[in-house]
């Protein structure tokens, strides 16, 4: 067969590129693309919630966040680079005063937008407005199928807020928005309920992996799924290929047949993150100096960072299998998630902390507080602990 027999249809925000691995396109992906496929842009560290697992430790706005003019200049550049589509997040992006202006600016410049929100600003009128906008997709975050489970992690009242927003989007005829859930020890048994919730609201379900990033480092030991939960989830995902995952569970592919998706770490290759200050990181889960590739404020802007940063060049080199080289499953799991390893104190060429063969656990236990990196800049308003009702 020639190299082009299967054009792969994919949702860029979720990298559902099922035939990629077999076709050799995965190797091209590893060498990087001229522009990212999947760019996450966190517009602000300000948030009206303080979720215990927040990967960016959000809460307070940072005084050095990009101005409206600087943000517009980034969008101009993304247009020139033909970044088709960006994922906007935060913090809570909708509380930035110029949020709607920037969304419209992006769309007017051919850059589609999906934004993640806790739903607090999505009332009936906003839902109507969204339903009338082309090129805009909405993702509502929720972390429990009931208020008790959700609010334990996201704060009191946040379940009702999210569900109200879902109702407004459905009533406005928005169409298929997304419901996004981070899988934890407490909610992983509720996957069928989340699926039913998505079906009820005419939404698409998206399940992603909990990483020990940001404040997630503090709650990881308590919240990350157990081995048996991971196995259950793997089989559930295989049985529900229409559920989006952002390709985040590829470490589970070592359990058998590969899950749909790239099944590789896209950090710096097809994925990256711009933080509210304009700093560019390899992926949304590594807001740490070690993975900072540069800033859009430098003269060459985002394009220079993406195309010439030393960090990204390194990530696009073939990676060492390290301690996993002798494991027969390395081809399937690729050693797992860089961020999960880094923040649990495991070497980057070591196994994933949630390695399904159990190779990670002992290393996590062995890594004491001294060998674990700090979690990066903390924008929390107050000390956040599980169940502390952070509002």
């Amino acid at each position: 067969m020639t190299a082009l027999d299967i054009p792969i249809v994919a949702k860029p925000d979720d990298l559902v590129l099922s035939a990629v691995k077999q076709s050799g396109l995965g190797d091209q992906m590893k060498r990087g693309l001229d522009a990212p496929i999947c760019l996450t842009w966190e517009l602000t560290y300000a948030c009206n919630l303080q979720c215990v697992h927040c990967l960016s430790s959000s809460g307070r706005r940072d005084p050095h966040e990009l101005s409206t003019a600087e943000a517009e200049a980034v969008i101009d550049e993304l247009e020139r680079m033909q970044v088709f589509y960006i994922n906007i997040g935060g913090g809570e992006p909708t509380i930035r005063p110029d949020f709607w202006h920037l969304v419209e600016y992006a769309v007017d410049h051919g850059v589609g937008v999906k934004f993640s929100t806790n739903g607090s600003q999505i009332d009936a009128a906003v839902a109507q407005k969204l339903a009338g906008m082309d090129y805009v997709d909405v993702q509502i975050s929720i972390d429990g199928a009931d208020a008790a489970t959700n609010d334990h992690v996201r704060g009191r009242g946040s379940f009702d807020t999210a569900v109200a927003a879902m109702g407004h989007l459905r009533d406005a005829g928005f169409g298929e928005f997304k419901i996004s859930v981070v899988m934890t020890r407490h909610n992983i048994s509720q996957v069928d309920e989340f699926k039913a919730m998505a079906d009820h609201y005419g939404a698409q379900l998206r399940l992603t992996r909990f990483r020990p990033s940001g404040r997630g480092a503090d709650s990881w030991a308590e919240l990350h799924p157990t081995d048996s939960q991971q196995k259950d989830l793997y089989h559930w995902l295989l049985a529900h290929p229409d559920v989006l995952t952002g390709d985040s569970f590829f470490h589970l592919s070592a359990l058998g047949a590969p899950l749909p998706g790239l099944n590789l770490c896209g950090a710096g290759r097809v994925v990256c993150l711009i933080d509210p200050l304009g700093d560019v990181y390899a992926c949304p889960f590594v807001l740490h100096d070690e993975f900072r590739a540069g800033t859009v404020r430098d003269p060459g802007g985002f394009q220079a960072v993406w195309q010439t940063s030393e960090l990204f060049a390194e990530l696009r080199e073939p990676q060492s299998a390290g301690a996993c080289a002798s494991c027969g499953h390395y081809d399937a799991c690729q050693g797992g998630c860089m961020a999960a390893k880094f923040f649990t104190g495991i070497p980057l060429d070591g196994p994933d902390p949630e390695c399904v063969l159990g190779h990670g656990e002992t290393l996590v236990e062995a890594a004491d507080a001294a060998t674990r990196p700090d979690v990066g800049t903390d924008h929390s308003r107050t000390k956040v602990t599980l169940g502390s009702k952070p509002r």
């Binding site: 082009l4 299967i6 994919a10 693309l33 001229d34």
Partner: protein, 89 residues
Amino acid sequence: MLSFDADQPYRLHDRVALRPEPFGALAYHYDNRRLNFLRAPELVALVESLGSHDSVRHAYDASGIDARRWPSFEKALASLAASDFLVAT
């Protein structure tokens, strides 16, 4: 869904954008928010030329692509049409 017919004219959907890449191009459909990979530079050129020919076959003839490779290109085009990246005109 209509099956792909190389005797008919097709063109790239108005809401599809192509971005050149070393392997060919990425194609993004702004309506259904899907991404496609055009995995050969010749395929990119062929797709871009479709609109100016009165059938896909004529586009093959004009493309300079070896006729033995047409079946694999046709498979790619049919797949693009099935996901609405190409539309019959």
